[in-house]
């Protein structure tokens, strides 16, 4: 701890870190700690709140990108035999729509909430490993860049700027176009081009980001809780973060290895998924869904956590059956590993396997149903306030249930054989993804943005966001149930007249524009709130959990003195409970608040993934010198990690003025 500053006399108030002088790290370089440049401050930050805000902003951007891709898809399908885009472009769009929404929009939106809220909810000053947290953020950015880089090359190709005889001659396929699940053998070298390589490398990098973030959050939640914050006093959102993080830790390795095997197939001529060499393409499906089904719960459990926070707050009642809600979440996560083959009923698994997976899939409906009943029980007899977060949370319960019902239909293998690869499946998982996850995330945004930016929402625009998005999503996706039952297959860029699909498709397309308008209004509302909202105060919603105890936006050190927790729903008990359940605070020991030092190294290490990923992908596509780019990327990662280790953790002390 040689770099920690000498403790100044406790009487000097150094609440503003810019007052402090920068120190030298063990490398002899100046740490970027107290830099006055806003840009450097954000790039090198290790503050979980800033990292959360960056996750959220980037994720919202990709949500819009994925949304535009969806709108183009829907416009193409509005009329039979439409020729707005080619079949190839359509394949690229639905692949990137799925990949973007899952890995670049919903997962990082969840990560944004994890980052911002979990340390505040458990009464910690930061996550357990602040620099690894920064590494996770920038690795996510690197993965997003690699996976989307194909669009740049595709644009160059469309403009006809590639020479006809160079190494790119004859290549016109730079964007992934094989579906977000990348089934073998279409990912093989003879069927798809550089797009698949960008997809492999991009997902691999996103996996590194997710794994490092997930391990960080497990350690944070287990080790960094404030005194008295026992596991069964944790807010449900934090519990769901813990479950999701463990799911990531154990589910992502399967896709990592599957992607490595696929990369070896494409680059080194192995035969993992190549039938000519004895390989079995179905192995990919197994490995992908062993990851892919837990991934579904990785996406939806945080949404359930958000709703479990919002409903009690606006019903003025504790969550009905806290313990069983937590337990159900854990059971859903656990069972999530045992149901992957329900994505593969039509591949011919055999009767016993099909029956077992069918049964297990139906079993998941039990803990999910328990949660729904507990939410309804929370509302029952409560004093319900229809504030904006509540409207979306109620919408979540209803819409998510709709998606759940069609999910149970798929669990039955004979029914699934009819629905497989039809629009019925699309209807199901969009009810879960938009009706469930998206509405819950919007509820979370309406709930916590006043805490994040310290400003309150203006006016009643939120009700129009709710109306347009809920009505839009129902008009878009409800007719898809019928389209699916009428036999319309997924992933076809157009269809013929006369199957009875025309009206439904047109209605779906109109609905998608209504939904898009709702999301546009949401963006407008967020901008209005951030720009010109009134100050929110610490606790604008009369909420229940610890994050509302601190200022809005929270100070860089979160809590001036460490809170000591005496009950579940700590803040609610503090405000309305008996004397012995109030929050108390640890004595000030005069050392001040220890803050972690900022650092460039995590960003340098993780952005090394960009040249590594692009270099390997383009080398595979036959572009010269790209191997050197990849080696440069590897060198950059190694250098970043080495300097990171050598520079030392550092740290400094702040001395906030005592208010209480």
């Amino acid at each position: 701890m040689s770099t920690v500053t000498e403790t100044p006399a406790p009487s000097t108030h150094t609440e503003d870190k810019h007052v402090l002088k920068p120190e030298r790290s063990n490398l002899g370089l100046m740490r970027p700690d107290h830099n006055k440049s806003v840009l450097i401050d954000w790039l090198t930050t290790v503050d979980h709140k800033k990292i959360g805000i960056m996750y959220g902003a980037i994720a919202l951007f990709f949500l819009l990108v994925g949304g535009v891709e969806a709108l183009i898809i829907r416009t193409q399908l509005a009329f039979p035999e439409n020729d707005l885009i080619s079949a190839q472009r359509y394949n690229q769009l639905f692949t990137m729509h799925g990949t973007t929404m899952i890995f670049l929009a919903i997962m990082p939106l969840n990560a944004a909430f994890f980052n911002f809220l979990v340390p505040l909810q458990i009464g910690a000053r930061d996550v357990a490993f602040p620099r690894i947290n920064s590494f996770s953020l920038w690795a996510f950015v690197a993965g997003a860049l690699v996976i989307n880089f194909g669009w740049v090359l595709q644009a160059v190709e469309v403009m006809g700027l590639f020479s006809a005889s160079g190494p790119t001659a004859g290549m016109n396929d730079f964007v992934p176009s094989m579906g977000w699940f990348g089934y073998a053998p279409i990912t093989g070298i003879e069927f798809t081009g550089a797009g698949t390589d960008f997809w492999i490398m991009g997902l691999q990098i996103l996996g590194v980001a997710s794994l490092s973030a997930a391990m960080n959050f497990v350690v944070t939640i287990i080790n960094m809780r404030a005194p008295g914050m026992k596991m069964m006093r944790l807010p449900v959102f934090t519990w769901m973060t813990l479950v999701v993080s463990l799911l990531i830790v154990f589910a992502f390795p399967a896709i990592t290895i599957a992607l490595a095997q696929l990369m070896f197939d494409r680059t080194f001529g192995t035969s993992f998924f190549v039938t000519a060499g004895g390989g079995q393409p179905i192995l990919w499906q197994h490995l992908f869904w062993i990851f892919g089904h837990p991934e579904v719960y990785i996406l939806v459990l945080p949404a359930m956590g958000i709703v479990s926070e919002v409903l009690p707050t606006f019903s003025k009642k504790p969550l009905f059956g806290y313990a069983i809600v937590v337990f159900s979440g854990a059971v859903i996560g656990f069972l999530g590993f045992a149901v992957w083959s329900h994505h593969m009923f039509t591949t011919g698994l055999g009767k016993v396997a099909t029956a077992a997976f069918s049964l297990l899939t139906m079993a998941i409906a039990v803990p999910t149903g328990v949660k729904i009943f507990n939410w309804v029980g929370t509302l029952w007899g409560g004093r319900v306030r229809f504030a904006p977060p509540m409207i979306f949370a109620l919408g979540f319960v209803w819409m998510f249930m709709m998606g759940g019902f069609s999910g149970i239909m798929h669990a039955s293998a004979p029914a699934d054989a009819q629905q497989q690869d039809s629009y019925f499946v699309i209807a199901h998982f969009h009810y879960v993804a938009i009706g469930g996850i998206f509405l819950a995330v919007v509820s979370g945004i309406y709930f916590w943005l006043p805490k994040i930016v310290g400003k309150m929402w203006k006016g009643k625009l939120s009700i129009w966001v709710a109306i347009f998005s809920t009505v839009g999503l129902n008009i878009t996706f409800f007719p898809m149930h019928f389209l699916g039952l009428l036999g319309m297959p997924r992933r076809t860029h157009t269809y013929l007249e006369g199957f009875g699909w025309e009206t439904y498709n047109l209605v779906c397309t109109i609905g998608s524009y209504i939904l898009a308008f709702g999301i546009f209004l949401l963006v407008v509302d967020i901008i209005r709130c951030v720009r010109s909202g009134e100050p929110a105060g610490n606790d604008p919603w009369d909420a229940r959990t610890l994050e509302w105890e601190t200022t809005s936006p929270p100070q860089v050190y979160n809590f001036g003195r460490t809170p000591v927790i005496a009950a579940r729903d700590a803040l609610w008990e503090h405000k309305h409970g008996p004397e012995n359940r109030r929050i108390t605070y640890e004595e000030d020991d005069g050392h001040g608040i220890h803050m972690p030092s900022q650092s460039w190294m995590p960003m340098i290490a993780s952005l090394g993934f960009v040249p590594l990923g692009l270099g390997l992908s383009l080398m595979q596509a036959g572009i010269p010198y790209m191997g050197y780019v990849a080696i440069f990327g590897l060198f950059m990662i190694a250098l970043g990690v080495a300097l990171w280790a050598i520079e030392g953790p550092g740290g400094y002390h702040l001395h906030p003025e005592e208010e209480k």
């Binding site: 490993f129 960094m224 399967a254 290895i257 599957a258 192995t270 220890h594 740290g651």
Partner: protein, 203 residues
């Protein structure tokens, strides 16, 4: 390697397990799934394509048993190094760490020799599913050993800077030890289900 913000000032006094150690346990849990996927891919293809390749003609039980024994002994030395660091005996720590590094390098040399030998005998990445799964699995394990060796070399150098102390650094060494033992255990499993099992009824 230390990235922890938990210092005594933070008021979290009831840690059951140190942050870094818990992180390593999580990583090892994740790593179990990595190797589980690789090993099960190998076993599935071994069962599906039994006639493709007869590894008993190629495997040298003597050599692999030797390298397995060496890796086991390196784990023993690693345990001694961790224990020495906990007692603050930095010289004993260095002696044992040098031993671990040396044994790790012997293991890697055996693997390199084995790979070249097998490639000469016709087992390559392109030669079918056995070559694919075998090289990817044992190669991933070899990379783990190489990273461990590199890590321990860094620690050895660090011990000469005089910044090691019995409290903070003992945890760092213990974390490296956890990793090393895990890599060793994975090799025991690979040695059993990939090498030994092939000789059932054949020796």
């Amino acid at each position: 390697m230390s990235d922890s913000a938990t210092h005594h000032e933070d008021g979290h006094k009831s840690l059951i397990i140190d942050n870094k150690k818990l992180l390593m346990w999580l990583f090892l849990g994740s790593d179990c799934m990595f190797f589980g996927t690789l090993i099960s891919t190998h076993l599935i293809y071994r069962k599906l394509n039994p006639e493709e390749f007869d590894p008993t003609s190629m495997f040298s039980l003597e050599l692999t048993s030797f390298s397995t024994f060496i890796l086991l002994m390196s784990s023993f030395l690693m345990a001694l190094a961790v224990s020495a660091m906990h007692k603050g005996q930095i010289k004993s720590f260095r002696r044992n760490t040098v031993g671990v590094i040396f044994f790790g390098l012997i293991f890697l040399a055996c693997q390199v020799y084995e790979f070249t030998e097998f490639a000469h005998l016709g087992l390559t990445l392109e030669s079918g599913t056995f070559g694919s799964t075998f090289y990817l699995m044992t190669g991933t394990h070899g990379v783990h050993v190489a990273i461990g060796v590199f890590w321990l070399i860094c620690m050895l150098f660090y011990s000469y800077t005089g910044k090691m102390d019995a409290h903070e650094s003992a945890v760092d060494v213990e974390v490296a030890g956890l990793y090393w033992h895990f890599v060793d255990i994975v090799w025991i499993i690979i040695f059993t289900v990939v090498y030994l099992i092939e000789f059932i009824g054949k020796v």
